[in-house]
Symmetry: C2
Subunit: 143 residues, 2 copies
DNA sequence: TGAATATTTCATGATGTCAAGTAAATCGGT
DNA sequence: ACCGATTTACTTGACATCATGAAATATTCA
């Protein structure tokens, strides 16, 4: 059984820290190429899949709804997103990506090669092992 | 050979995204328990290992030196960090963790169970595989 | 009608950038 | 070795973004 401080475990923890750092670097760099911040890119990515009420964006981002107002404001100013009324509930405003917004989101996704490219160096079998280990690490049961 | 969009690769990419999100949740939660922000906790963690000039902190954080001034200011106000002159170069200010700061940093590290605890569910052999796969993903050669 | 919900606005603080300023070290020519 | 010019380290100030929380408004629901 591993102690809390055995070398192997600490090594893996540090590697995960590096993965996290690398992921953010890549994400922010890709966003910056479109003059977007990380938060804006994240919201735009969500809205490129489907329109969402402000409330749900806040839940996904794990932040206060009042914060989302500003982020969507900035995206809307740049014509990447628009607010629509929800026909079913007049309290709700749906934020939806515009055509320009969807195009930008697509370019962003394509630029996010951080994980994809290095994974090309692994075989299918290795990728499968990695997937299963990550799943167990995250407490998801292998289906 | 994997295409850019094969299911397995996308699955792994998404898992890594989840790992990143989980990591930050845990990190910020642990920091918040000590009334620290993520950035403050990160700097305190660095300084608990060794005193560093402001410049080097900025390099580690990949941000502007002017930003570090504020973060260290706040840590200093709370008595967790102090600024010392560098005897070798009077332009330089060394930021160093105080005794209180080192204790806080230690508690923070102990609270960061995100990666350690779920890793306990993996065998030594599995951890070794995970370590090697992560290393290759990060482009580090296995020593 | 009264409670709960969705959004916005405002105040505040932390973080991030950039430009300008001060102090100290270093470099190059004499 | 000296001195002026450049570089380096840090801070300050102005400004944008992100984050929280409290209060205001509009709407829905019980």
């Amino acid at each position: 059984m591993a102690t809390r401080t055995d070398t192997l475990t600490l090594e893996v923890v540090e590697l995960i820290g590096t993965v996290v750092a690398r992921y953010h670097e890549e994400y922010d760099r890709a966003a910056a190429e479109h003059s977007l911040t990380g938060a804006q890119a994240r919201v735009l990515g969500l809205l490129s899949l489907e329109p969402l009420p402000m409330r749900k964006i806040a839940v996904r981002l794990k932040c206060e709804p009042s914060n989302v107002t500003g982020i969507v404001d900035r995206l809307e100013t740049r014509g990447l997103v628009e607010r629509r009324p929800d026909p079913a509930d007049r309290r709700v405003k749906l934020a939806a990506a515009t055509e320009t917004g969807r195009r930008t989101a697509r370019e962003l996704r394509d630029a996010l090669d951080f994980a994809r490219e290095p994974l090309a160096g692994l075989s299918d079998a290795e990728r499968t092992v990695l997937r299963d280990l990550l799943r167990r690490m995250l407490g998801e049961e292998t289906p």
